[in-house]
């Protein structure tokens, strides 16, 4: 069908709803060989939910074990493998792909007004690579797992560990390429496929943060790949790189590892920041305050993120002066982060605020991210970091960013765009209830860990002195509440796909190109390709029939 024919057809029969991407060909084959970005997003949704369930189950087991000082549930070895695999699964197979590969895949073409991503086949290939890497990692888990910590510090990982380091490392290596392909697709799509009139400063902020994230992925992931290959070279072939007994330097590994893994923190949080910008604007029905500053802050975070890796190494024995410079540069990250938080808050001023489920998650994100970010400033201050480094204070800090931030943003986004994705509305009562349960469970799990950390409880400890037990029990109780909070959405979202009322094109009355097509969108996204005539977030939204 040509463009002209489609327009004519739509004009001739306006009541006829175009076939959605979920309808049409139903076969397994049509899903496994799809190049439709929306179907790939659904495939990714299934994959990351699966890995989230595994990583979450491990977290619950870890917290259960930590309810007693002696860790009566598991042996030391089992505990060490569990926390290692929890970290690996959550970081590489859930947090990094969650928002970009699910929401990003679904939304980037819709938000730029295109029919698909620039390279639809690469997009599908990325999903296969992701699952191949995931399968490899799960296989090594079933064979006994790995016990080095997700950080793979040398020479523990290259010489002393007798677990499945190579298999797990290979799984992560392969999965890295799926991130790279996704990021490459987003960069090219945002550069080349924007609708007529959609200039850079008319892009929704979700695209700004997705773009910044993609840059980090493309520049950083190869360094991780190289580092993993060097670990293989030393462990499998005895080539001395990190092991001092072979003339290597163990601290070199930490530099290489954190050169990727610190920016990876921003890979995980930036996309959720983009989601929060969209939700805060939509549920206040006004543009994001200081749009250009919020957009610029995403890029600033991406750039600065590459310059601060040494703050993970203040007590590693790196030079005092290197530590000072890394401390100073780390402080600078506070500025773009603060700019975002203040602008989101200012957006509420004179808004028309609706307390819907996505807004609960977005506002929860802002509060928890603020606390996570400010404790990050404490850690960047070297004199303080020396005491709390490698304690539960760090564990609490990064879970505030990763769980309180990244996962809150992901769930908020999932609830915000679910009507578009599925065409259905979910239950308001249950969705608000579970958002509340998650907020309470999260804080009960992780706030006591700040206290534990300053008291001096080291992280990755299977057994701990009895005076730390009360705080650990509080944390474990919180984890069980958090677990319940995460199960409820899986139930009512699936339920809504069959029994939920139809959503209509724009149930929230939100601005944005994605709300101007029907829900769920047709395979080609728009029946007539959109033209953009103004800045984003313009209210009132014209009440035209979806195109």
């Amino acid at each position: 069908m040509t463009e002209g024919e489609r327009t004519t057809a739509a004009a001739a029969a306006p009541a006829l709803r175009p076939e959605s991407y979920l309808e049409g060909d139903h076969g397994l084959r049509s899903w496994l060989l799809t190049t439709d970005h929306k179907r790939v997003a659904i495939l990714y949704l299934i994959s990351v939910t699966f890995f989230f369930a595994i990583g979450g189950l491990m977290a619950v087991l870890l917290r259960l074990d930590l309810a007693t000082p002696e860790g009566d549930l598991f042996q030391d070895d089992t505990y060490n493998r569990l926390f290692t695999m929890h970290g690996i699964v959550m970081i590489f197979f859930f947090l990094i792909p969650s928002v970009p590969a699910v929401l990003g895949n679904f939304l980037v073409p819709l938000m730029v007004g295109a029919r698909d991503l620039a390279f639809p086949k690469l997009n599908l290939a990325s999903w296969y690579l992701f699952n191949a890497g995931g399968a490899f990692t799960l296989w090594s888990l079933l064979r006994g797992g790995v016990d080095t910590g997700w950080t793979f510090y040398t020479p523990l990982s290259t010489v002393y560990s007798n677990t499945w380091v190579l298999a797990t490392g290979f799984g992560i290596f392969v999965t890295g390429f799926s991130s790279i392909l996704t990021a490459l697709n987003f960069i090219v799509t945002i550069h080349r496929m924007r609708a007529p009139g959609l200039g850079w400063f008319r892009l929704p902020l979700f695209l700004w943060s997705t773009y910044a994230t993609s840059l980090i992925i493309v520049l950083g992931t190869p360094v991780l790949a190289v580092t993993l290959l060097l670990v293989v070279a030393e462990r499998a072939f005895g080539i001395g790189i990190f092991n001092p007994a072979l003339g290597g330097d163990p601290v070199l590994f930490q530099h290489l590892f954190w050169f990727y893994s610190h920016p990876a923190v921003y890979i995980m949080i930036l996309p959720s920041m983009g989601v929060v910008s969209e939700i805060v604007s939509a549920f206040s029905r006004k543009p994001v305050f200081g749009y250009r500053f919020v957009a610029g802050a995403s890029v600033a975070i991406a750039v600065l993120g590459f310059l601060v890796w040494g703050h993970h190494m203040f007590v590693s024995g790196q030079s005092v002066y290197a530590s000072l410079i890394f401390s100073l540069l780390s402080m600078l990250v506070a500025i773009p982060s603060a700019v975002k938080v203040f602008n989101w808050t200012a957006t509420l001023h004179r808004g028309a605020i609706l307390w819907e489920t996505p807004m609960f998650y977005a506002l929860g994100f802002i509060g928890l991210f603020t606390l996570g970010g400010l404790t990050g400033i404490m850690l960047a201050s070297i004199g303080l970091d020396v005491h709390v480094h490698d304690t539960y204070f760090i564990v609490a800090h990064f879970h505030y960013i990763m769980v309180g931030g990244a996962i809150m943003g992901y769930l908020g986004g999932l609830h915000y765009w679910w009507p578009k994705l599925s065409g259905r509305l979910y239950n308001r009562f249950w969705s608000r209830l579970s958002a509340g349960i998650i907020f309470i469970g999260f804080n009960l799990t992780f706030f006591p860990q700040f206290v534990l950390g300053y008291l001096g409880m080291p992280r990755r400890y299977h057994a701990y002195p009895p005076e730390f037990q009360v705080l650990n029990v509080l944390s474990s109780a919180g984890a069980s509440i958090l677990g319940v909070g995460y199960v409820i959405p899986m139930v009512y979202l699936l339920w809504s796909m069959r029994y939920g009322p139809r959503a209509g094109a724009n149930p929230w009355g939100a601005a944005g190109l994605e709300w101007r097509t029907v829900s769920p969108p047709p395979t080609d996204n728009f029946t007539t390709m959109p033209v953009v005539e103004g800045p984003p977030y313009r209210y009132p939204v014209p009440s035209e029939t979806p195109t």
């Binding site: 510090y153 020479p155 500053f293 402080m331 200012a346 960047a380 009360v470």
Partner: protein, 308 residues
């Protein structure tokens, strides 16, 4: 069963706590500000009719500059404070007593200047600066005493230095803070702070026989053949080592180096790395031929012996 704040038992602890309390103040203030604003604005501007929209606002550059500059100022202040504290943490005062620590999966071995040794315990005098010279025999460990607010990674094939001055008598937790494998959480012990006179008595008492016969630095110096060349007389083929520690050494390549523990270590393992002016690089390297403990013993011997 239940405590909320760690005891402070070193000269540094109170300083770290002050920085901590200040940062907690900043954190509480801004978190409270943001949470309060969100709740206030969220209720004040709640949607009152279905098709109500918000009022768009013009960009306020002045406001944006304010909330760039305020976080910048606060974080630079915290940087400066933390940096100043870090200098203090990383520079042991002159005259500190050196104690040798070896980390090994999964225990801490400690050796005092008198030769007294202990495992998973560290006895130190109160109100005296103590400097730990630490190394690892296998993977990376980290020496962490929460009550002193100090921590330092302990690396294989390298000396790491940590110092403290205990102010509170008693027994304090010692943890390994860098994950080191199966029994990482059991690589713990205690630091026992004694009154100075008590510590002196403790040093001289006890079973120095815990050191296997022939493992002392004095014995190793003979047994490894060091004494053959590093003799105290004029026939020596190698530099005289008496009084070497702490002095400035002129090197064959024209440079100079202060003879600290790191230099002694390097010169035993890789003698040709820094050859003393006027001597030939004749000495064999001892890398792989002696253990970390033997190396520490030799270094201790070279530091203390008047005439090795």
């Amino acid at each position: 069963m239940w405590e909320l704040f760690p005891e402070a038992a070193s000269t540094l602890a109170g300083k770290v706590d002050r920085l901590f309390f200040f940062s907690v103040g900043v954190t509480v203030f801004f978190s409270g500000l943001i949470a309060g604003l969100i709740l206030y604005l969220g209720v004040r501007y709640r949607r009152r009719s279905v098709d109500q929209i918000g009022e768009p606002e013009r960009a306020a550059t002045a406001l944006e500059i304010v909330w760039c500059v305020v976080p910048l100022a606060i974080s630079l202040f915290l940087f400066a404070w933390g940096a100043q504290l870090f200098f203090e943490q990383s520079r042991p005062p002159a005259g500190a007593t050196t104690i040798y620590v070896t980390g090994r999966r999964w225990m801490w071995q400690v050796q005092h200047g008198s030769g007294r040794r202990e495992i998973n315990e560290l006895h130190v005098p109160r109100d005296r600066p103590v400097r730990l010279l630490m190394t690892s025999e296998d993977v990376i460990h980290s020496f962490f005493v929460p009550a002193f607010r100090i921590k330092q990674d302990v690396l294989p094939d390298r000396f790491s230095v940590l110092w403290f001055q205990a102010t509170g008598s008693g027994s304090w937790h010692l943890f390994c803070a860098e994950y080191c494998g199966a029994e990482h959480s059991r690589m713990t012990g205690r630091v026992v702070v004694l009154e100075p006179q008590e510590y002196e008595r403790w040093l001289e008492a006890g079973d120095r026989a815990a050191l296997p016969a022939g493992a002392s630095g004095e014995h190793l110096f003979e047994a490894l053949g060091c004494a053959g060349c590093h003799r105290g007389d004029t026939l020596a083929k190698a530099p005289i080592l008496a009084g070497l520690f702490g002095s400035t050494v002129k090197l064959a390549d024209g440079g100079e180096v202060v003879a600290d523990e790191g230099y002694l270590r390097e010169s035993i393992l890789f003698p040709s790395a820094k050859v003393v002016a006027g001597y030939q690089p004749l000495m064999p390297g001892f890398r792989g031929r002696i253990t970390e403990e033997q190396l520490l013993e030799l270094v201790r011997h070279l530091k203390t012996a008047k005439n090795p």
